[in-house]
Symmetry: C2
Subunit: 386 residues, 2 copies
């Protein structure tokens, strides 16, 4: 196990009927900006629940945050905050709304010229303060409700980039599994795949003698494999929704990353597919992950075999046969939830591979836990998904 | 799954060579009281490491905290703090030192007459402030380094009682697995049993559809079963020590308790054995747990079968046969580490059972996740361990 530091102070308020508790978590006299997305919270009643709970607060609203939230949109919220002297933010939505709110929270207090610096100069320029915020999560998927990471897309440059800081950890997140009841199939399937791949990024690496972290990771994977299909089959199965929701949060709250290497190659390559073609984030992961398993089957061999055995019960055959079966099982699982895993199924032209390759070449970035996925490997990974 | 709230802001600094980092975690100009036990930290070099790291701080010392720390001792530290205007505490030791430090931290700022109120009026009188403190953990076992609970013994009344508050969560805890290298067998074995039973208290209850929490709990149990004997066999196996240490912390940091019932009957009965006979805390748990499994085999049936299957591979026989085998395997595991599991092995006279029964009768307290362990059941549980 590697040395590590871990701290996650986010307060989780979990369970049906929890949304009205939001009023107890926000400082009296706060001037709140409630951020949200395309308005589904109005259809589902979450908007009314929150508004009603906060009727004694000074409450502003900022709707219209997109999936894969745009820098350009966030900057409008930053302006509103400065004009209205907002001092608390409340993200009501899924990972995109929460991610956007993190960027807005830090961006509003950034003394530099443009908070896009957090992304293009990541690890060099970091926020040293942010407006405090909480979240009401409506869509289990990204884990953003219990971490300090955000991914933002800048439309003008077709860039989708990430930043992270303990300054943008939510003060609290409210998780009411009944929010799952009103989600469309596509969002549930995306959420399951997203959480699943988050675990894989922290688990499917070279081994470092971390049996506890492995078992926690496998516990989340097994729960998603078991409970995910139940949620898809019956949207009103509260227990399945609750198990899915808590799994998605724990998939990316830092816990299973303690003391182990991390990959994140699937995400970095996937972001490019979203940037160029607007493919749902989770779906890009379903495309790329099998490619990484294919191309990195040697360096990840021990863990792929362990994953195949413990999650899919694959114990027979040569190592290579077991790895092939394990990749096939992973693809089957994603496809069984209606998530295709190849590029042609998303009408991605072969030319996109060259563009993405070129981008990684320019950036000179190496991905993966061994920093051995360069632009040629990116090309090979994507070609394997044609 | 039940509704729940979860927040654990303790910063964990984990790994070999981490102890000198203590200096970065304490506010400059703090007036520190370092608390410790019987002096083993002087023998192992941890004392020197801490003193050296803090040589630029104003540092006071309070040694001599006992295993099963005494109220009477803690009150001396409270007096010292008040006299010297100490504003930061640093616990250097195992669970007893950290527990004592929690009580001292809250007791020093308690406006009432006697902070023993926290124990005798638990849930009615709770600390609303405490002196901030950190910990350097030298003995993996209790999980005190990442929770807000403490157990204190009052010698004058032979009472051993618990309190808990988010006000007494450590600011940080430093976990250097190399501290395990110098522990005697007995303390390692006790630590493994203690962590194991902490998990069982939160896991071996009636089922509430919490597959993820179950798997996390099982992950800790399996890791203790695997790594514990390695630590006992080779005290310098860093990886085994690290896996044991992280398991013991996660066994009682609130995570596996989210959304599930909890028992704690083993602890409550065990505390009485320590109070009357001074038996090591962990050893009392090894005595009582098999008794609870025996007497509560009906209400805990589903979970005992699951535990037997997933931890010990027991799948054959009738339910009762499987439960018997599972209890036997649990006892075998404790005994294999040199921890006896019956009362006579600790020279506990049969009269003690009647005394303990009487005490629970007086308190009118019912234990267990179903509150169905009254004084008669306490007697039956202890008699089953003769």
């Amino acid at each position: 196990m590697y040395n590590f530091e871990y701290r996650n102070p986010v307060k989780i308020i979990f369970g049906k009927g929890s949304i009205p508790k939001v009023a107890d978590e926000i400082p009296e006299n706060a001037k709140i900006l409630m951020t949200y997305g395309g308005g589904s919270i109005k259809r589902t009643g979450v908007y009314d629940q929150v508004k009603n709970a906060l009727k004694n607060f000074d409450l502003f609203e900022f709707g219209g945050i997109e999936p894969n939230p745009h820098y350009e949109t966030c900057m409008k919220a930053v302006e509103l905050i400065k004009n209205e002297k907002i001092d608390f933010l409340l993200a009501v939505g899924g990972g995109s709304v929460i991610d956007a709110t993190k960027f807005i929270a830090a961006g509003a207090l950034y003394p530099g010229k443009d908070p896009w610096d957090f992304f293009v100069q990541r690890y060099i320029i970091e926020p040293d303060k942010a407006i405090p915020f909480g979240a009401v999560l409506t869509l289990p998927a990204t884990g953003s409700e219990m971490n300090g990471n955000a991914v933002i897309t800048r439309i003008s440059t077709q860039e989708k980039l990430a930043f992270g800081s303990p300054k943008v950890l939510p003060q609290f997140s409210i998780l009411d599994p009944e929010c799952v009841f009103t989600l469309p199939d596509r969002q549930v399937a995306n959420g399951i795949v997203d959480a699943f791949v988050h675990v894989m990024e922290q688990y499917l690496t070279f081994p470092v003698n971390s049996p506890l972290q492995d078992r926690f990771a496998e516990g989340i994977l097994l729960t998603l494999v078991e409970e995910g299909p139940k949620v898809i089959a019956n949207r009103n199965d509260y227990e399945a929704a609750a198990n899915f929701m808590w799994s998605a949060t724990l998939a990316l709250n830092g816990l299973i990353a303690t003391g182990v290497p991390q990959d994140w190659g699937t995400h970095m390559i996937g972001h490019e597919l979203t940037a160029y073609h607007g493919i749902d984030h989770a779906r890009t992961l379903a495309i790329v992950l099998p490619g990484i398993m294919q191309i990195k089957r040697q360096s990840k061999k021990e863990k792929i075999l362990q994953y195949g055995e413990r999650i899919w019960g694959i114990t027979e055959g040569t190592d290579d046969e077991r790895i092939d079966k394990t990749i096939a099982k992973t693809v089957d699982f994603f496809e069984s939830m209606g998530v295709p895993c190849t590029l042609p199924e998303y009408d991605v032209p072969v030319e996109t591979i060259a563009k993405i390759k070129e981008r990684f070449k320019e950036r000179e970035s190496k991905l993966g836990e061994n920093k051995d996925i360069g632009y040629q490997e990116v090309e090979a990974i994507l070609k394997s998904r044609l």
